[in-house]
Assembly symmetry: C2
Homo-oligomer: 229 residues x 2
């Protein structure tokens, strides 16, 4: 593990409180790997041998069942997976796949569990991490069950605008966005056409939110579902 990667991991909430000696031990047996877009990092049904940490890019967590596939979550930089399976030492319920070029740190699962035994603070930090993940899952369930596709898109745009400002540059393919929003690519196209009537300009991978208020009228954001209510 290179120094810059080590310090990136060190600054994550989960590892910040870990004592120095345990951390150097842990980072000594870990390594970092780069993946191109579309690579599978680990498979569903596989034992959780490693805890992965996303250091760059976006990772998609999804499950395949028969010939259909469903996204579970999209992970940005600094996110861990599959944490629950590592904690319980069970197989992973989903596979992980890069949506673009990614740098991924890999820590052997037994090391994680051993570190928890050594450091109560680390255990506590992971508890927080898992709790956050938990709320996110609930948010996602609500987002899927309680909203239609236009609303989901509208809320995604609001969240993106809160980060990037009114000029939004799509960080991944529309195909990926569709999967993230839980709809088919075709449907996203149509929905992007519809949303033009509600204060949004669409030019390829560039969106512009002209009338945030009108968009909020469609999105109806809530603090129970969205981080930016």
């Amino acid at each position: 593990m290179r120094h810059e990667d080590t310090s990136a991991v060190r600054e994550l909430r989960a590892f910040r409180t870990l004592d120095e000696s345990t951390f150097t031990w842990l980072s000594g047996v870990s390594f970092v790997q780069s993946f191109p877009a579309g690579m599978t990092i680990h498979n569903q049904g596989q034992d959780a041998d490693f805890l992965f940490i996303n250091l760059a890019g976006t990772v998609e967590l999804a499950t395949r069942h028969g010939d259909t596939e469903g996204a579970v979550a999209m992970l940005g930089v600094g996110r861990l997976f599959p944490l629950a399976s590592v904690v319980l030492d069970t197989q992973s319920l989903y596979f992980a796949r890069t949506t673009n070029a990614c740098r991924i740190a890999m820590i052997p699962a037994p090391i994680i569990r051993e570190s928890m035994d050594r450091s109560p603070d680390f255990t506590r930090a992971l508890l927080d991490e898992l709790a956050r993940e938990n709320l996110e899952h609930v948010r996602e369930i609500n987002n899927q069950k309680l909203r239609g596709s236009i609303e989901r898109l509208a809320n995604w745009l609001l969240a993106a605008a809160a980060e990037q400002g009114p000029q939004i540059k799509l960080p991944y393919s529309k195909r990926t966005l569709a999967s993230l929003l839980g709809m088919s690519p075709e449907n996203l196209s149509r929905t992007l056409v519809q949303i033009r009537n509600h204060g949004v300009e669409v030019h390829g991978a560039q969106f512009k939110v002209n009338d945030p208020e009108q968009l909020r009228g469609v999105a109806k954001p809530t603090k129970l579902i969205d981080l930016v209510a």
Copy 2:
């Protein structure tokens, strides 16, 4: 808190490892309440002031958004809620409602957090609990996204048959079952008619699985979604 309730809590995975003194302290400031069917135990958006433990009955966790409502999970005996919100000291994303008569233990949230500080083992036990909950959420997401309503019903029947044997007695109303399976009550009726062609007898609230193999053919259970694959 009466003695029988105390010992019931004591035997749960989460509290088994807690040291005696902390546990008596904790149970001293906790109490138990009985609720009739259809009662709301706590509301969405409310601060998580208590950790609730279901000691009898079935609790529904759900979220309301506008005029629609979506079930997040159904909790049997021995389950805790809203654990993630208690850990992070944030408001709950869902409300909890009894589907039938329930006994619920209530532990003040600060007591839980204080207990974690006192006992690393307790923290570790809660981590396990939260990890399990996490996997359950993922299973639920997959169940909803990857299967149609007939499949979901078929899998529910298989799970019920694994518990009760081929003769199944519905533990709550069909309305509740429908919500649990993520469909409208009307649709559940129709789906119950359809499932007769696949080895199941339906008589009111009594189901009988005559041909488990045929039913499995419809359900296509997986260990990635169902506990009983």
